[in-house]
């Protein structure tokens, strides 16, 4: 019923490689059998990747996307973390702000584009603003919830040892909430990556999102479309893995189940 005896270590590589091979084969043969003229085969995507790598545009696009994520996410963190901590620490504040947040949150960042363009014009800034918006909510929510979930035992212990409120917040509550805050940041980073790509498809003319839509619009280069998609996926995964490394640092590791 359950998985059988513990899989061997080599299986960790075997199964995914097998699956990938099978999928590539299916992809390759469906392209041949359906005799499609437009949809790329794995080989043409590979060639497309090489082509992109040689055109300097790819590196510029990657840098642009990453830069927007860095700035937007960074701003969201700088503003969102203190704000979220405050919301978690002062329940009355949370009561006041929460309804507004609940109404704003379901509005896709992309829907803010017209407003963003009015404020920031066209170019980098609206895209960065969208990233900021997209990352802000998960960060605020994670910080608020992280703080409010810290067991009251810890706060009481802090008071028992004579710490003042700000000290308790800094030396007890914040470290206790840190694992959850980090998870929220990692999720927000993932969202930032999704938003930047989407935003670039509509509001800017550089970046990986733009590359995807431009490859189609100027010449139906679906091989480049798929190649760009794969690059987006890989970079997004890399960002996620990098962040998980931070979670491994000893002083936070206690908060994560091994």
């Amino acid at each position: 019923m359950n998985s059988l005896a513990k899989p061997a270590t080599w299986e960790k590589f075997f199964w995914p490689l097998l699956t990938a091979a099978v999928l590539l084969a299916v992809w390759h043969y469906s392209v041949i059998w359906t005799a499609t003229k437009v949809f790329p085969s794995p080989l043409s995507v590979e060639k497309g990747l090489v082509e992109l790598a040689h055109k300097h545009v790819l590196w510029a696009d990657i840098t642009d996307s990453l830069r927007r994520v860095a700035i937007g996410f960074g701003l969201a963190a700088i503003i969102g973390i203190p704000f979220g901590l405050a919301l978690g620490w002062f329940p009355s504040l949370n009561q006041i702000f929460n309804p507004v947040l609940q109404i704003l949150r379901p509005i896709s960042p992309i829907a803010w584009i017209p407003v963003a363009i009015i404020f920031f014009g066209i170019g980098d800034k609206p895209a960065t603003f969208l990233v900021f918006l997209g990352a802000l909510f998960p960060i605020v929510v994670a910080c608020a919830s992280g703080v409010s979930r810290v067991p009251s035992i810890y706060r009481r212990a802090g008071r028992n040892f004579g710490l003042s409120s700000p000290q308790i917040l800094a030396r007890v509550v914040f470290p206790a909430a840190l694992p959850q805050i980090l998870i929220g940041l990692r999720i927000a980073l993932g969202i930032a990556w999704l938003v930047v790509v989407a935003g670039e498809m509509i509001a800017v003319d550089s970046g990986l999102g733009y590359l995807v839509i431009d490859s189609r619009n100027s010449g139906k280069r679906y091989d480049l479309v798929v190649a760009a998609m794969l690059i987006i996926g890989v970079i997004g995964l890399a960002l996620d893995l990098l962040f998980r490394q931070i979670e491994k640092i000893r002083s936070v590791r206690w908060g994560f189940r091994s």
């Binding site: 995914p16 702000f97 498809m201």
Partner: protein, 248 residues
């Protein structure tokens, strides 16, 4: 006490109105104008039409994704080798924004409902897949051992132990994914479709800078998204699921 958030919202509205009024010739609308914009849309029947269109797409994309991703995710989460096989692939596809699939969507489905549903499906699929996988991992071993101890057949085990054990987590995952679906549909409609609330926003701006309609659309999007979330939360209250929340 209850009035505080309401008071705060009122304060925000006043600030908003003042900011707009003090800059005449501004494109952005104030709250009053926005309200009139909503009324405008209602009158012309556009609001209802677009809301229905967006909800229709969300429903189909969401349900399709749920029906496929949940059993698949439960299976992959249960069998170690299946997870080894599929996880790397999932991890690479997950960070690709559903919107990046637009060229492929248009290629396969043209411009219209099917494309939008496909995009929503993609967005919901990965979220639900991962939720299901994680839910299976989180089943306490005790429950599994008891199930084995009582000699349940595999179908009986799935129906009587696995499913009830994962249900609470799946419900939370469904709620979050519905939120994702709502975000995707709006964005998709701004880029790849010709109806719906997202389209309304782009269209209102393009055809005459009707920013009052733009912001009206945003407000409606926010409210409906919130209502969807609240509706899902009420599901969590159903007694037979409630066990999963206070204790777990």
């Amino acid at each position: 006490m209850r009035l505080r958030p309401v008071a705060f919202i009122l304060v925000l509205l006043v600030i908003w109105q003042t900011a707009i009024s003090s800059h005449p010739g501004q494109l952005l609308p104030g709250p009053w104008q926005t309200l009139r914009g909503i009324g405008d849309l209602l009158q012309h029947g556009l609001l209802l039409k677009y809301v229905v269109a967006s909800l229709f797409r969300v429903t189909w994309g969401f349900l399709l994704a749920a029906v496929i991703a949940i059993p698949l995710g439960l299976t992959i989460g249960w069998y170690r080798r299946a997870e080894m096989a599929f996880n790397p692939l999932v991890q690479i596809f997950r960070p690709i924004s559903p919107l990046a699939w637009i060229p492929i969507a248009i290629l396969w489905f043209g411009v219209g409902d099917l494309s939008a549903i496909f995009l929503i499906f993609i967005g919901c699929f990965f979220s639900l897949l991962l939720t299901a996988m994680s839910a299976v991992h989180n089943i306490p071993d005790v429950y599994i051992n008891v199930g084995r101890n009582f000699g349940l057949s595999t179908p009986a085990f799935i129906y009587r132990v696995l499913y009830p054990a994962v249900a609470p987590q799946l419900i939370v995952g469904l709620r979050i994914t519905l939120g994702i679906a709502w975000l995707v549909v709006v964005a998709a409609e701004m880029i790849a479709v010709n109806s719906g609330l997202g389209f309304l926003i782009v269209d209102a701006r393009n055809a005459g800078n009707r920013y009052d309609l733009v912001v009206a659309g945003m407000v409606v999007i926010g409210i409906i998204g919130l209502l969807l979330d609240l509706a899902m939360r009420s599901l969590e209250q159903v007694k037979s699921f409630r066990w999963g929340f206070p204790e777990n």
